[in-house]
């Protein structure tokens, strides 16, 4: 990281002053511990992911404002304003390292950080906003009186077309139209001879465009630096953490189902048809059909079943019953049983592997002969429709789901499938196949009045 002046300021009151909204122009020369590296990044990531979720669900601006406020308070805010600022800056730069490494990641990070900045900027008072603009070296001149008089009626006309009332603002910035594309696109601003006349209230758009452009350039630079220098230098210290942070799943890990959460083999078919998410249904179906699954498929389904409560002995019986129809019982014992025991932590270094989260599954890519991965991502539209049809998804829900798929919101598509097949809404959204299963069982059991399933929930790195 570059060493330049620190961005700490004195006498910040933490609420409305510019000090509380950094621009992340240069990496700070702050010292911090390795555990802060990970934890701060995770906390910030929670905020960004929630923003991402909120936006793809089409939440309105006011709802987003509230959401961001709450999230920030819950995850990032500290009693001491200086501490908050420190965490803010550190977490941003750590995430920059994590998310600079690939095109898709850069794009996502850029959009979410800009969104976060936009909401936070709007909450600042006028003076703080002005001071931020100064820092961004916005050369934009405030419109002088003489020029204002010549275009005053057009400014009013434009304001009325946007706000429907003539609420005359008096402070305008004269800005090249290229710098405020959103305002131009929506005809929210008066333009003349290539200049847009932006009222102070709209300055947010201006500022965000510049913020976004700065971060975008910085990300490209960071990426280059990472590849050519840092990744190697840090291969024993930061690099593994950066990798892990990039794959992080933030939720319960479903590795330890408890008590009555066991399922027995005789129930498994029925459970598959009512409570398995599509990815697992597909794997399960293919296993029944072909009496075989390739390695990744076995991992994805096997760990899922473990999370669902299938005991080791039952798992061995289950896989053996299928595989021996293809490869014979002996070969199963020799070649496949070991890895199942391995999944349950009974072999090798005895790691108790955790079932894959949606994020992990979505990122994997099946090829010929594979059936793992996320069907919402990999199935053709035709095949997906057919599969969902078999699950009993109605036509209207089907169209909504396809829409989400087209926009690459695979988890939302799965959530909608859940809602369509269970007849209820799922506010939290599906992030993990085992979560799908758990929620599904809750609904079915509440209908049948069986004792509720309990799970322990821990937050950790996947």
């Amino acid at each position: 990281m570059e060493i330049v002046r620190s961005q700490r300021r004195n006498g910040s009151d933490g609420s409305g002053s510019a000090a509380s909204l950094p621009l992340y122009k240069t990496a700070p020369s702050l010292e911090f511990r390795l555990d802060e590296f990970g934890q701060y990044a995770i906390d910030r990531l929670r905020v960004l992911k929630a923003i991402s979720d909120g936006l793809s669900r089409g939440k309105k601006p006011e709802e987003m404002d509230n959401l961001v406020g709450e999230l920030w308070r819950a995850n990032m805010k500290h009693q001491d304003a200086d501490e908050t600022l420190r965490k803010d800056i550190i977490s941003h730069f750590v995430l920059r390292l994590v998310y600079c490494r690939e095109e898709e990641m850069r794009r996502w990070f850029l959009s979410m950080e800009t969104a976060l900045f936009r909401y936070r900027f709007r909450l600042q008072n006028a003076e703080a906003q002005k001071s931020i603009m100064n820092e961004l070296q916005l050369q934009y001149n405030v419109l002088g009186n003489a020029e204002y008089e010549t275009i005053k009626d057009k400014l009013t006309e434009a304001a009325r077309s946007v706000y429907f009332t003539s609420n005359p603002e008096s402070v305008f910035y004269k800005v090249p139209f290229e710098d405020v594309p959103e305002l131009v696109a929506n005809r929210r601003v008066f333009i003349l001879k290539g200049f847009a006349f932006v009222p102070r209230s709209q300055v947010v758009s201006l500022v965000c465009t510049i913020f976004r452009s700065n971060i975008s350039k910085a990300l490209a630079l960071t990426n280059r630096k990472w590849r050519t220098m840092i990744q190697d230098q840090e291969k024993d210290r930061l690099a593994p953490m950066v990798e892990a942070l990039g794959n992080i799943y933030l939720g319960p890990d479903y590795s330890k189902p408890q008590d009555c959460a066991e399922i027995s083999l005789k129930d498994i078919n029925q459970l598959a048809s009512t409570s398995f998410p599509l990815c697992m249904r597909h794997l399960f179906g293919k296993l029944r059909e072909d009496h075989h699954l390739k390695h990744q498929g076995r991992m994805q389904l096997g760990l899922f079943l473990k999370g669902v409560g299938l005991k080791l002995e039952d798992a061995l019986a289950f896989w053996k019953a299928e595989f021996s129809q293809k490869v014979g019982a002996e070969r199963f014992d020799k070649e496949y049983a070991y890895s199942i025991r391995h999944n349950y932590g009974k072999e090798g270094k005895r790691t108790d592997y955790t079932p894959y989260s949606c994020q992990k599954i979505i990122m994997s890519t099946p090829s010929t002969g594979d059936h793992h991965g996320c069907p919402y991502r990999h199935f053709s539209e035709e095949n997906l429709r057919a599969a969902l049809n078999k699950m009993g998804v109605g036509r209207r829900a089907m169209d909504d789901i396809m829409d989400k798929v087209r926009n690459r919101h695979y988890q939302l598509a799965c959530t909608l499938t859940f809602e369509a097949t269970h007849g209820t809404s799922c506010e939290t959204g599906i992030n993990h196949p085992n979560q799908y299963f758990v929620e599904s069982r809750k609904i079915f059991q509440s209908k049948v009045n069986l004792p509720l399933v309990k799970f322990s929930q821990q937050f950790c790195l996947a």
């Binding site: 594309p181 696109a185 008066f190």
Partner: protein, 415 residues
């Protein structure tokens, strides 16, 4: 016209009439001079594409590029393309793009372009449809030129704008200011959206909705152009004389009671329109959505309908001016926006006509072959209204950029 006849004509057209030097001078944007600030690689980094049609098939060649006018001329004469498209200026010579990593080949400059097609207005014109056009419906193109040209100059501050007849049923617009050529995709998108008023596919009934007072751009378009043009349109298209025609207008009124009242009382033509205006503007009906109904109707019928995707992309290829339209044989000649009402698409010279003029005037002394034909008028327009002012600006910009650079080097040495 058969493909082989067209090719014969094209051979002569490209041999004697196509304005290579003017096209080169335009697209070089001042880099064709001897000034030390000139970038001699600039023209060579522009992509062209050729469509070559024979009776049997059609071949499309992308990523053509030429170092100078003479190379371009040789290639066009040799290949005799039925269509020439102009693409973007890239980071490297398009013909050599494979020598570079994929990330090294990107478009960096491209004119801001617009494409307007009269067949997009088929739902509001009753005299023609599809690829046909006549003097009754051509005014829709005139309207589009006026509205967009004014906005490009007044609102966006652009000066070097070329309007070209597309050869059959529409017009193209090339905005060539350096500021325009350097716009990013996002900025082009923003401009396209600024002009996007007529929205909705065939399944939506109402394509123009104004929820409140109009933005100054729209208000100006309405007052200066659309309002009066619609009055003319009402009469040339006999909008209120035929039931299915005025039915379409009534469908745009969001108030059942108004609609039924009008439908009952109507008798003559102009009376109906006056009646409708009076009813909607009197303010006696307080239904929501009625306040801007007249404007919505006028905009629905007359406001320019752009092909938004053409404007948004940086590497979208667009037909070159002075091409011959293979379907009609007409030359894609420039249109003077200040005199666009005078433009008559039915009297645009065809390639056959030009060749005949060449033959007839063979013995007349003239500076060039072009002078013997009606193409001379168009070439002259191209030069005086567009190329000359553009060249002057390019020269000034090149010199000033060069001087700034020199000054910067001096400054950095001084201390």
């Amino acid at each position: 016209m058969s493909a082989s006849l067209l090719t014969d004509y094209l051979r002569i057209y490209y041999g004697k009439l196509f304005p290579y030097t003017d096209m080169y001078k335009w697209l070089a944007y001042g880099n064709d001079g001897k000034h030390p600030g000139c970038d001699s690689s600039y023209f060579g980094r522009r992509e062209f594409s050729f469509t070559i049609k024979s009776d049997r098939d059609e071949v499309y060649l992308r990523f053509q590029s030429f170092f100078n006018a003479s190379e371009m001329e040789t290639s066009i004469k040799a290949k005799c393309p039925t269509k020439i498209d102009i693409g973007a200026v890239y980071t490297v010579d398009p013909a050599k793009r494979h020598a570079y990593a994929q990330s090294g080949f990107n478009p960096i400059e491209r004119e801001l372009v617009f494409d307007i097609d009269i067949s997009d207005y088929d739902d509001v014109r009753y005299c023609c449809s599809g690829a046909d056009t006549c003097l009754n419906c051509w005014p829709l193109m005139t309207i589009a030129i006026k509205v967009i040209d004014t906005a490009l100059r007044e609102d966006f501050g652009f000066n070097h704008i070329l309007w070209v007849y597309s050869g059959r049923r529409g017009v193209h617009c090339w905005v060539c200011d350096s500021r325009a050529r350097r716009l990013s995709k996002e900025q082009r998108s923003a401009i396209a959206d600024y002009f996007h008023v007529y929205k909705g596919g065939e399944n939506s009934l109402k394509k123009v909705t104004f929820s409140g007072p109009l933005h100054p751009f729209l208000a100006r378009a309405y007052t200066d152009v659309l309002k009066n043009e619609f009055e003319k349109w009402v009469s040339t298209q006999k909008l209120f004389e035929h039931e299915e025609r005025f039915h379409n207008i009534l469908q745009l009124i969001p108030d059942e009671s108004v609609v039924s009242e009008l439908a009952e009382k109507w008798q003559g033509n102009s009376v109906r329109w006056e009646h409708l205006k009076h009813m909607l503007q009197s303010g006696s009906k307080k239904t929501q959505g009625l306040r801007r109904c007249i404007e919505e109707i006028v905009f629905s019928y007359t406001y320019p309908r752009l092909d938004i995707q053409v404007t948004k992309g940086m590497n979208h290829l667009l037909k070159a001016p002075f091409c011959v339209h293979p379907g009609t044989g007409r030359i894609c000649i420039p249109i003077d926006p200040k005199k666009c009402e005078e433009f008559d698409p039915t009297s645009v010279p065809t390639v056959a006509q030009l060749i005949e003029e060449l033959n007839t005037n063979a013995s007349i002394g003239a500076d060039s072959d072009v002078e013997k034909t009606s193409l001379a008028v168009s070439i002259n327009l191209f030069r005086t209204c567009f190329l000359e002012p553009l060249s002057k600006t390019c020269k000034d910009e090149l010199e000033s950029a060069y001087n700034t650079k020199i000054q910067q080097t001096k400054d950095s040495l001084n201390w």
